[in-house]
Every structure is written in structure tokens, then in C-alpha cells.
């Protein structure tokens, strides 16, 4: 029996108080994600239950109980507080998926500070922009990332503490770099918990938009209400499940459903911090008897590419429920998993800004392969006419995916950017920036972005950020960045470039430009394809026609080119 029961039955009379009651929360009480995910689970008699199975690079394995989780988060929280870090200070996590990352996340929340997770593949520029915007006061990292951080520290006056969790005693650290080895720290049995309330800030995730710098999406402790219930109902977690969320906590899936959701339910979860290979992943599922698996379409397509035969070498019979997020899951992937794994993947849709799953295919509900599914109970979703921002009633007509504000995990602000935040709301609706249709049975069908943001492998990349980085390359005169189709990642970054006088296009320059962006921003933002043009297409007013270049890549109609500049 699915935890959710029957979808239609849950819609009737739904209120978020269901989650509040199950979490013993009463409106007005203190609420703290760090405490709910560790101390509360211990109080429920699960102190000795495994909270985390961890496997890292080089075959390192660790196992932690919920009591370990409680103690380690206390210890880190206490250490940070003793440094002088205060409630609402921004503390960045910049490291691999090592246990310290998970413990630090909750430890920061326990002392009322704001946790700012950043993807460890970010280059110095990406890191600088996000730390600068947030006014981050401390960063918790690993030794291997120090060289990147050291380059930008002099330009970040707010950044006072660089905490290194794997410092080796014989290696020198610079000013403001503080070693912290969890294994050698004295465990803190009792930590005075910060009495956060529902609207106290908790997590600051950065996301990219079409224009301008990345935006810091501010969430609050009350988000746990959405994350708890969606984890339980959408991912269908039973008390004895072994759960694996493959997302990195540098992205919102890795925190909402890789930390808060499962641990607020007292569920055992697994973390694999090793590069992708089909063999490694299948072996991991077999070894830990993973029963619920939440992953991304890019990973599923990579597994499909590895072939069906390899699956036979592993016992994957523990798998009970499969779900996917990050980008649209193509129908072929759903059909493949049903055929090869014996279970279909259930697609889900949500965003950094929504903080929790908004539309999904549910256990027990008929799956239409390729569809996003239906809105979660309590969520009012629609597709809107892009001109009037009124819901489209005609079935099958495309419009903007929008939600009525008010669900618990909704973002509360864009950090330092009230204008951008206000622009996300029209006519009483939150605009997701994505387009879809709704069919006769109420299923949503994803169409694409309503802007130029590139979704590559489930990660959003701003063309503006990449173009800005390209312009800093000495050979680049002008650039336009668009998406191009890709079998595995759905779409990837492509750059059109015109060169400055004195430079000529060649393969070495192409490689140099790619690596330039990779180091400055990240491997995700690195153009996977560079095309040199003598002149980029522009309007008569001088604006580069990115739309035209994108249409060409996707084999679409170029549309109106009456404003195209003539030679």
C-alpha cells in the first residue's frame, strides 16, 4: 500500500496540518530542521538506526546512526558558534559529498545560521559571485579546494573563516584558514538549539536566470513541512526503506530530498561519492539493498546507453519505487526502466524556488510515460496565457506553468534582489519560467523553458554568465550562448564566437576557450561546442539574435527576422 493512499482521496480536504501533526509541530512553536532531522528521530526511539551509509572515492566506507548524526551536528554547530558565528550568518558548504557536508548542513541550521551549499565543481568566478552576493561569513571546505578559494579571498571582505575539514597537520594553512577534524573533535552531547521559528531563514541556494547574476533563493525552516510530506507521499518511503538520492547537495534536490526529507522521516539513506559508471551504480544498489531511488533523467539515459545486458550481473530486486527529477523524463526512459528494471521511473517537477515537489506521478497512479504527472495535494497549479496571465482552460494549449503562492516550502526572497522576486509573481500566480500543456485527465506535459536558461543534465546554466565569462577571454570579441540538443543531457551549452582582429579560429583556440570557461565557471557551463563566426547575427539596433541561433541548433523555424541587420 502506498503511503499516499489514493491520489484523488488525498485531494479532498487536504491541509498542510497533516504534516504539522506528524512532525508534532504547532503553529507558533519553534521549528528547526537540524533538530527535526536528528534529535527528534532519536527521541522517537531510532537513535541506533542507521541514518547514513557512505561510500567515497577510493573505497572509503562509513556508517552512521541517528545518534551519530545528532552528536556530529551538535559538535559542528558548537564549533561554529564558538568561532563567533551567529544566527543568520551565511555559512557556505563547498566540498564533495563527504559525511561532513551532511553533518555541517544540519549543524549550521541548529545554531540558526543560514546554510549556503555550493556545487564543488564551481570555478573561482562562480564561487566569487555567489559568496559576494550572500556576504558569506564562513566557508566549510576541503583542502583540495583551497587553491580556488585563496584566489578570491582578498576580494571578499565578509569572508572571515575558511574551515578545512580534512586538514593534515603537516601542511600549512594561511590566515583565516582553520582546521577542523570531526573525528578528533570532542563530541558535544548537548547543544543549545537556536529557537528558530517557521519564518526563520534556513537555506540559501543559488540559481541561474537568463540575465543578470545568479539569484540566491532564500528558504525558511517551515519548508520542512512540504519536504517531509512530499518525501513520504511522492517517494513513498516506508520506515524500513533504504533510500538513495543521487543528487549533490550543491543543488536543491540534494538538500530537500537528500537531507531534509528522508531524515525528517527517520529513513536510512545512502550516499555514493564517486563518479558515474553503470557498474558502480548497480553494484551500489545491490550492496545496500536500495529500495527507493531518486535520480535524474541524465543518469537514467546514461544507464540506458550502458546497455541492458549489464543489469543481469546484479541483483536489483530490492528496488521498490523509482523516481526522477531535474529535467523532463522522456517516455523511452520510463518504458526502458519498466522493461529492464521491472519498475517505471516516476517523473516529478519542481524548482529551487519551490523548495519541494509540485507536480508528480504518484505511486499507485497511472503513469503516462513522458508526462510530468499531476499537482501535489494542496498545490494549485495551472498553465497561464502568457499575455493575460489567466489560466488556460482549453485542454492541450500550451502556457506558462504557474502555482498559487502559499505552500510551506515556497521561497521567501531572492537575496538582495526584491525586484527579481516581485517579477516572478503575476496576477496572484508564481511563474515557474517553464511551459506545459494539460491534457483531458489533468496530466501536465512539459514543453520547455519560457526563457533562454539552459537546462543541461538537470543543472540550470545562464547564457548571460557564460557570455560574460567568454568576453574575458583575450581572443573573444563577441559571443552568443544557446542550448543545443544532446542525447544524454537533454541539452548542452553551445557558444557562437566572433574573434578579435589578429586571432584566427582553430581547434587549439576552441579548446583554450572551453577550458577558460570551465575553470572560471564550472564544467557544466563549459561550452561543449564552439562555433566561430565572422559576425554574429544582430538586429538593426545591434542586439545579438540568440533566438535565431538557438532555432538553428534545434532545427526549428527561425521566425521573424525582419529586424535582422543587413550587411
Amino acid at each position: 500500500m502506498a503511503e499516499m493512499g489514493k491520489y484523488e482521496d488525498r485531494l479532498a480536504g487536504f491541509t498542510w496540518s497533516i504534516a504539522e501533526q506528524e512532525l508534532d509541530y504547532h503553529p507558533g512553536d519553534p521549528i528547526n530542521i537540524g533538530w527535526h532531522c536528528s534529535d527528534r528521530i532519536c527521541r522517537l526511539g531510532k537513535a541506533d538506526k542507521t541514518a547514513l551509509y557512505y561510500e567515497g572515492f577510493g573505497g572509503i566506507e562509513r556508517e552512521y546512526t541517528f545518534n551519530d548524526l545528532r552528536l556530529h551536528t551538535n559538535t559542528i554547530g558548537s564549533f561554529l558558534r564558538n568561532l563567533g558565528l551567529k544566527p543568520e550568518d551565511r555559512i557556505c558548504l563547498f566540498m564533495d559529498r563527504i559525511p561532513e557536508l551532511y553533518f555541517s548542513f544540519l549543524g549550521i541550521l541548529k545554531i540558526g545560521a543560514i546554510v549556503q551549499p555550493l556545487f564543488s565543481a564551481f570555478g573561482e568566478e562562480s564561487l566569487f559571485v555567489r559568496l559576494g552576493d550572500a556576504g558569506t561569513r564562513a566557508i566549510i571546505t576541503q583542502r583540495k579546494y583551497l587553491s580556488r578559494i585563496r584566489k578570491i579571498v582578498p576580494s571578499l571582505p565578509h569572508l572571515e573563516f575558511i574551515i578545512v575539514v580534512d586538514h593534515q597537520k603537516d601542511k600549512g594553512l594561511e590566515t583565516n584558514e582553520i582546521p577542523f577534524l570531526l573525528d578528533e573533535a570532542t563530541p558535544v552531547e548537548n547543544l543549545e538549539l537556536f529557537p528558530s521559528i517557521a519564518e526563520s531563514p534556513s537555506v540559501l541556494h543559488y540559481t541561474s536566470g537568463t540575465t543578470g547574476q545568479p539569484k540566491g533563493v532564500k528558504h525558511v525552516h517551515y519548508s520542512i513541512i512540504s519536504q517531509y510530506l512530499t518525501t513520504k507521499w511522492v517517494l513513498d518511503l516506508h520506515k524500513d526503506d533504504i533510500y538513495w538520492c543521487t543528487a549533490d547537495p550543491g543543488w536543491v534536490t540534494g538538500t530537500s530530498y537528500g537531507i531534509i526529507g528522508p531524515w525528517s522521516l527517520g529513513i536510512t539513506q545512502c550516499v555514493l561519492d564517486a563518479g558515474f559508471s553503470a557498474e558502480t551504480w548497480y553494484k551500489f544498489i545491490e550492496k545496500h539493498k536500495v529500495s527507493v531511488w531518486y535520480t535524474a533523467p541524465t543518469a537514467i539515459r546514461s544507464l540506458m546507453k550502458a546497455g541492458d545486458d549489464i543489469v543481469r550481473y546484479f541483483n536489483l530486486s530490492s528496488l521498490r519505487h523509482l523516481a526522477s527529477v531535474g529535467e523532463p523524463l522522456n517516455s523511452e526512459a520510463v518504458i526502458w526502466s519498466q522493461k529492464v528494471l521491472g519498475k517505471p521511473f516516476h517523473d516529478s517537477f519542481w524548482q529551487t524556488e519551490t523548495g519541494a515537489i509540485m507536480i508528480s506521478n504518484y505511486p499507485g497512479m497511472k503513469i503516462k510515460p513522458g508526462s510530468m504527472g499531476k499537482p501535489f495535494p494542496g498545490i494549485t497549479a495551472a498553465v497561464l496565457d502568457p499575455d493575460t496571465y489567466q489560466p488556460i482552460l482549453e485542454k492541450g494549449r500550451s502556457g506558462l506553468i504557474a502555482f498559487r503562492p502559499g505552500w510551506p516550502a515556497m521561497m521567501r526572497a531572492y537575496w538582495n534582489n526584491e525586484q527579481k522576486y516581485n517579477e516572478k509573481f503575476k496576477n496572484g500566480w508564481y511563474l515557474s519560467g517553464d511551459k506545459a500543456t494539460i491534457d483531458e485527465e489533468g496530466y501536465f506535459w512539459f514543453i520547455g523553458r519560457d526563457d533562454d536558461v539552459i537546462n543541461t543534465g538537470g543543472h540550470l546554466v545562464s547564457p548571460f554568465e557564460v557570455e560574460s565569462a567568454l568576453l574575458e577571454h583575450p581572443a573573444v570579441s563577441e559571443s552568443a550562448v544557446v542550448s543545443k540538443p544532446d542525447d544524454i543531457n537533454m541539452e548542452v551549452v553551445k557558444a557562437f564566437i566572433s574573434l578579435k582582429l589578429g586571432y584566427s579560429s582553430n581547434k587549439d583556440l576552441e579548446l583554450d576557450i572551453m577550458n577558460f570557461v570551465r575553470k572560471k565557471l564550472s564544467s557544466i557551463a563549459m561550452p561543449q561546442d564552439v562555433e566561430f563566426m565572422e559576425k554574429l547575427p544582430k538586429t538593426r539596433s545591434g542586439k545579438i539574435m540568440r533566438r535565431m541561433l538557438r532555432a538553428r541548433e534545434w532545427g526549428e523555424e527561425i521566425g521573424d527576422i525582419s529586424t535582422l541587420e543587413n550587411d
Binding site: K144, G275, F276, K507, M514, N515
Partner: protein, 85 residues
């Protein structure tokens, strides 16, 4: 192919990977150090490594052969390159 030539290729690939993809000076990169499964090179970065190999050795490696497994160590990469020279 002569062992001496293979050694040159091996060193060239090793030095390139070390300088381009590994931030930490303390990491000892051997010819068998896992690159993909250790996270030094991710699937997105593989494209730039592929272009480096094609440019430097004047070869064309089909996308179907540029797999994470084939790129997982310097020795594996050299084996791949050798088959296209």
C-alpha cells in the same frame, strides 16, 4: 607502436590532465589513478579532454568510444589513443 613513443604519449596525457583538471598540488597522479570514478574529470569535462587528444595526436575518436570507462586513467586513455594513431 614503439614503447618509447607510447611513453611520450603517456607523459603528455599525464601532464595535461594534471595541469588542467587537478587543483590540488598534493595529489599524486599515477598512470593508473582513476580519473572519472575519482571525480577528477567529470562527464562534462570529458569533452575538452577528448578535443585535446584529437588536436594533439591528430586523430578522430568516435563519440561511441569516448566512454567514461575509456577515459578512466592515463593508461586507458593511451590505449584508446593508440588504437586511432
Amino acid at each position: 607502436m614503439e614503447e618509447q613513443k607510447l611513453d611520450e604519449i603517456r607523459k603528455m596525457v599525464h601532464d595535461y590532465v594534471k595541469s588542467e583538471y587537478i587543483d590540488d598540488d598534493d595529489v599524486t597522479l599515477t598512470y593508473d589513478t582513476p580519473l572519472i570514478s575519482s571525480g577528477y574529470v567529470d562527464s562534462f569535462s570529458m569533452v575538452s579532454l577528448l578535443i585535446f587528444l584529437e588536436n594533439r595526436f591528430k586523430i578522430k575518436i568516435p563519440p561511441s568510444k569516448a566512454t567514461p570507462d575509456a577515459f578512466d586513467s592515463v593508461n586507458k586513455i593511451v590505449k584508446l589513443v593508440e588504437s586511432y594513431i
